[in-house]
Symmetry: C2
Subunit: 233 residues, 2 copies
DNA sequence: CGATCAATTGACACGGCTCAAGGGGTGTGG
DNA sequence: CCACACCCCTTGAGCCGTGTCAATTGATCG
């Protein structure tokens, strides 16, 4: 709030957020400025809620730093993880086009910085910046691909090929070390099985010489070929 | 190919296709004309293939009349239905933004009319017609919502609530008669169970007085409340 | 260094898949 | 219009896999 440059200074934080995010990456400096002007930053502490079920949303949330966990809460208290958002990922795009209440909770798993854009501001931006529509469409198409893959995986009745298929996706079909994007109990829910089953199936893959577990959140694929044999299609 | 009006006449068919499709619905007559000019119609007989696995696709397919079944072919020969496309639905949007080969088969279940748009033509259109981007984004967001719902459903370990949840979605949470979008064996695969299990669970719902089966492809929800009790969340 | 929660491991029961056989509806050809 | 055949759907019996419940180990954080 210093003299003269007060206004420009006030959007520095917004600009930083915008420049970090892939969907805005290809925009020119001018265009980014337009985006930054309608952006509002949000901060969430670890364990804090970004939004809850039942809230009406007309806002696009973009993760800048940190991590956000999106999950359903079943009536029996079990949490079903839908998705984990890392920096650059966004959520709320559905609510932007269809009036709807949130059907899930969004919780920060660490100290997190987000930026938000209201529906009206975004629609105005889209009309003004064609490259932005392309970027958004691309991002949405990617999301769709992932969601459909997950649906295909989950339709597999047996737990072992289901897990193997997931690991193969995660590793990009090649050997190497991969980070699990969430805790194992969350991963179990994500894959439609219990933590116990996940543990057993992982062990089974280790025994078969296909993977190695490194620490708590890493898995090393040692035999991508065998993994492909266990996984479907 | 008659004299004079030859050119205009040649895109009549394309224009008909474009005007039928929801994502183009809100465009003005002029704008529809622009779209029709880059559209190419395709015809498929019942049982015919629209595209196969392994083909590179840079084309958006929009179903005008008929029905198209999208499915994976597992190595054991089992077919996993991903989606059934009715008039107005489209496929190929993923391939428009990420170079990729098709991972599924598309087969016409009846005599079907489609229209296609190439990637380059569509990107050009988007730049020219902002309303089109909004329509596309909205349609993609809807698709995403459906895919995420399906993933949530499939993560349910027990078959009965999984089926109940599906029926509830299909009926729009109210009582009434709904058409099944595919055969029961396809539906079983879609829901991640065997045809036998599906048959038994349907019977179970009938016995409980929750639904009635009408013919082979219709289900009547008689007690939406009880259905909600069986279904999750 | 202790407390707390995640992850593992074991025993057991139940649900769903597998394999096999019997109707019922649908679409075809005569 | 009828009859046949094919395929989809249904129904039954047995077994394997996975969820459930419970206890132990292990790791991470204050």
């Amino acid at each position: 709030m210093e003299h003269g440059q007060a206004h420009e200074h006030s959007i520095e934080r917004e600009l930083e957020c915008v420049s970090q995010v892939p969907i805005f990456q290809r925009l020119s400096a001018d265009q980014m400025m337009s985006v930054a002007q309608v952006t509002r930053p949000i901060h969430a502490e670890k364990g804090g809620t970004v939004f809850s079920t039942g809230e009406v949303s007309q806002t696009l949330y973009i993760v800048n730093q940190g991590q956000v966990r999106l999950y359903h809460l079943a009536e029996d208290g079990r949490e079903q993880v839908l998705r984990v958002l890392n920096p650059g990922d966004f959520i709320g795009e559905i609510a932007l086009f269809t009036d709807e209440i949130h059907s899930s909770y969004a919780e920060a798993t660490k100290t997190t910085e987000l930026c938000t854009i209201s529906r009206s501001a975004l629609t105005a931006l889209i009309k003004k910046l064609p490259p932005l529509s392309m970027a958004l469409l691309g991002a949405l198409a990617d999301r769709l691909k992932v969601a459909e893959r997950q649906a295909t995986l989950l339709a597999i009745p047996d737990a072992l090929p289901r897990l193997a298929g997931y690991l193969r996706e995660l590793s990009g079909h090649t050997a190497g070390t991969v980070d699990l994007p969430m805790s194992k109990q969350d991963l179990a829910a994500y894959l439609g099985m219990t933590p116990e089953s996940l543990s057993r199936k992982l062990r089974q893959l280790v025994t078969a010489g296909i993977i190695e577990t490194i620490g708590r959140r890493q898995v090393k694929i040692t035999d991508a070929t065998k993994l492909g044999d266990v996984a479907p299609a």
